[in-house]
Amino acid sequence: MGLEEDNKKIEESMRETARKLLEDKEVDAVIGYTEGTLPMSSMAMVITRAEDVDKLIWNNYCYINLATYLVPRIAQLVDPEKGDLKVGVISKGCVGRAIIHLKVEGQLNLDNVKIIGIPCNGIIDRKRIEKEIGQKEILEVSTSGNEIIVKGRDFEEKFAFDEYILNVCKQCKVKSPPNVDDACVGECQEIESVSDDYSDLAEFEALSAEEKWNHITELLEQCTKCHACREACPMCYCNLCFVDQNKPIWFGKTTDLSDIIVFHLIRSIHLVGRCVACGACTSVCPMGIDLNLLIRKVERIAKDRFDFTSGLSSKVMPPMMDFSMNDSQEFMLEED
């Protein structure tokens, strides 16, 4: 079956679920995606009436993680007693994971959020396609079979879908949301842990410290510190990010390389055991910086050190909310 049929199918069942939830008054609103105004884009949308469900769409450009619209804490979503607001969220696997993890961090109450699960088939790496098309304007994009067809004024190019989805999507093991605490309706799965192989990181990890540094600085040097990655990240919901703090001033706010690096470095530390690998940061970066490497490493640290994958359970505590006598400590300095 081709992509179009897949997407149609996903779209139809998603609309059906949303319609039912709204009609049965199980939710007051549904957050989903709607058609974007530009090729290779989509837009978040909140609908409150069952007759609007046909505005919801699914395609492979639904890159925004909708969970980001649930934080910072919306009082009605946290407290079931104030819970006069119930929200359904169209959730690909990573959106569902984000919602579950946000629950663990006390940002919402799963009684008030319905995860409308869909089996995501991958998000297209639009930044990569844009770069490859170069200085030509993309006017129309369509999918056919297993190909992405990009058209402009005087060109037409084809890209293999499997090759041009986000790197995180290629590695994704949780395509549809985990069913946790019965918060999930629609397509979801029972999943307790995922095994992952990190061979995609091997090449980078084999580099020397110097080479890694050079690679990372080259990767990040164009960062304008606009913080779109942070704002699009469902886990970056701090009211005041550490880079913005000035009492005390921890780190520089400029676009000096050191300030860029330290922002991404500390952000990575903060995301260990929290990142849900949705790749939204990469999809939104106006400079087209691919943060895949950071996402994968952050995932790997949590998995290797603490056997933890975020957003799979509302019971298992994430690394920094827990500790154990038996944690590995191979890095501790010891006498020879």
């Binding site: 009082a75 961090e105 940002q107 701090c238 009211n239 005390p248 920094m320 909310m321």
Partner: protein
């Protein structure tokens, strides 16, 4: 919180410590150099800063120069900080505005062979100390009133002992027991080792002392419904026969004991011919043991995969009961099948010796080859013989462990104290604070913590009572001022992610009814784990604030001026 900005005036006192410091580095020139540091208005070197003269010089320095921060560069805060703190306090300077710079233990003594480098290092350490001092804030110790009352949960032998001890010291004490009778396991026991006293005798005397004590109130068939508040001031609800009683309690002792384990499905246990030691106790008590072939099996349900621990009392119980059977019927054959026998100390080892003398037979079995209880005989494999031994029986007694109570979880939750993996209560520190919980004002004794025998229960009951009385024997309680706090100006940084709650070792952090983070100053010990784990650094760790530590980091070259 804006007060009028006070000019920071730092005084630096550099101690020679005789020749301990002065013998290696030039303290006079260091003191002179320190004048160049930001905010420093007075410096002095002293032969011994901690001497009467030295202290007088500090006081004089403070008075004549209006110092509001004092630094002593000398030995170590671990020994001398209290002295200097009280010295400046006498001159009206808040003791938390004192900062210690360690230039002896961590400098001249460890760099004796490199005095020039020690000299440079001393200067930099002082620069760092000055940088921090400029950021220090006055703090007050927190004083809380305490209520001179105690609550003991569980009226077994440990609980009764603790409660009597508290009551005898004159504290109003409340003893809550969920059963209809007090006494706990004493109610089912026959004789007690190592004295062979009748359990009922001990129970009788305890009951009398409880009844006679006017400071002690007993609630039977009762349970604790809720516990709020903190050390010195717990608000307790006790439910008895549907009535709820509210009490204000200073300290709480947990003595809930442990439960008997029913070995259903193990060794053909049936409660008739194949019974537990506890059931045997009842039979002995009622003189109903007529068996002449008794086989006891040790470690039934303990020291196995799902219950790894040793229940500690079963070896002695088996020995005592074996002897008891032998005493009543010397002709009876008593065989004990064991994995290891633990009989520590002279008294207990004596039991083992006497049992051997009395003709009790001991046969070791290996956990890989468990004894098999057949209809009329027990089959046990003997390593030494390399073959199975068949022992006929008319009574099999299984030595089962004490297990944790099922409702421990509820009590633990109310008290905000931890349980270990087997469901027993976990003390603050196995060696250093065995009767304490990490949560202040809550103590533990008896089998609630770990299976223990009567002797140990009594000892622990006294121990817990003595720990508890150290708190309520004073009318107030002084709590360290250097604790963590979530000040109003940082409220907007808090996202309510609860990570601080999960990492706080003292359960001092919770969410209040408005869903906002609340730090209970009285419970906080100022470790700072919450502040460092908070992604936003919303929590301020007093006396070790971000700003203060940052200023030390930045004072690297001695230039940091507090911008």
């Amino acid at each position: 919180m804006s007060e009028e900005e006070e000019e920071i005036r730092i005084g630096v006192f550099v101690c020679h410590c005789g020749s301990n410091i002065g013998g290696y580095i030039d303290c006079k020139s260091i003191a002179e150099w320190a004048k160049s540091l930001p905010h420093v208005v007075f410096t002095q070197d002293n032969l011994y800063t901690c001497s009467e003269t030295g202290l007088a010089q500090i006081k004089k320095g403070v008075n004549e120069n209006n110092l509001n921060r004092v630094i002593v560069a000398s030995c170590t805060p671990r020994t001398h900080e209290p002295l200097f703190r009280s010295c400046i306090q006498e001159e009206g300077v808040n003791p938390y505005l004192f900062n210690f710079v360690n230039i002896r233990d961590q400098n001249t003594w460890v760099h004796q062979k490199e005095p020039e480098k020690a000299f440079e290092k001393a200067k930099e350490l002082i620069a760092m100390g000055v940088a921090k001092a400029a950021k220090l804030e006055p703090l007050e110790k927190i004083i809380v009133d305490t209520t001179p009352t105690a609550l003991v949960i569980g009226a077994g032998v440990a609980g009764i002992t603790a409660a009597l001890s508290m009551a005898n010291q004159g504290f109003e004490t409340h003893l809550v027991e969920k059963e209809a009778e007090i006494g706990g396991k004493l109610n089912i026991l026959d004789k007690l080792y190592p004295t062979n006293q009748d359990a009922s005798e001990l129970l009788k005397s305890l009951k009398k002392r409880v009844n006679d004590n006017t400071n002690l109130t007993v609630y039977t068939s009762a349970s604790v419904k809720s516990i709020e508040g903190f050390i010195g001031n717990f608000e307790i609800e006790i439910e008895q026969n549907g009535n709820v009683k509210e009490l204000t309690i200073g300290v709480i002792i947990v003595a809930v004991g442990a439960s008997l384990f029913t070995p259903t499905g193990l060794f053909n246990y049936d409660g008739q011919k194949r019974i537990t030691q506890a059931e045997l106790e009842t039979l002995l008590k009622n003189n109903q043991v007529e068996s002449s072939n008794v086989v006891m099996i040790q470690c039934v349900g303990s020291r196995i995969e799902e219950r790894k621990y040793c229940s500690s009392v079963c070896c002695m119980v088996a020995l005592k009961n074996a002897l008891e059977i032998k005493e009543r019927n010397p002709k009876a054959n008593v065989t004990i099948l064991f994995r290891d026998l633990y009989t520590p100390g002279t008294y207990y080892e004596d039991y083992y010796r006497r049992a051997r003398e009395a003709g009790v037979i001991f046969i070791e079995y290996a956990p890989e080859k468990m004894p098999i209880v057949e209809d009329n005989q027990v089959r046990v494999h003997n390593e030494y013989l390399g073959q199975d031994i068949l022992i006929p029986y008319d009574l099999v007694v299984l030595s089962t462990p004490l297990v944790s109570n099922e409702d421990n979880k509820d009590i633990a939750q109310m008290l905000k104290v931890p349980l270990e993996e087997n469901g027993f209560f976990l003390e603050a520190h196995v060696k250093l604070r065995p009767m304490d919980f990490a949560t202040d004002g809550v103590y533990i004794c008896g089998s609630a913590k770990w299976p223990v025998d009567i002797t140990e229960s009594i000892a622990q009951g006294y121990a817990a009572a003595s720990r508890a009385s150290t708190i309520i024997s004073h009318s107030t309680l002084e709590v360290e001022g250097a604790t963590s706090s979530l000040p109003e100006y940082n409220r907007n940084l808090c996202t309510g992610c609860e990570v601080c709650i999960t990492v706080c070792p003292y359960k001092a952090i919770s969410k209040d009814e408005n869903d906002e983070i609340l730090i209970q100053q009285v419970l906080c010990k100022g470790c700072g784990v919450c502040g460092a784990t908070c992604t936003n650094h919303a929590i301020v760790i007093r006396h070790f604030t971000d700003d203060q530590i940052l200023s030390e980091i930045l004072a690297f070259g001695g230039q940091y001026d507090g911008v």
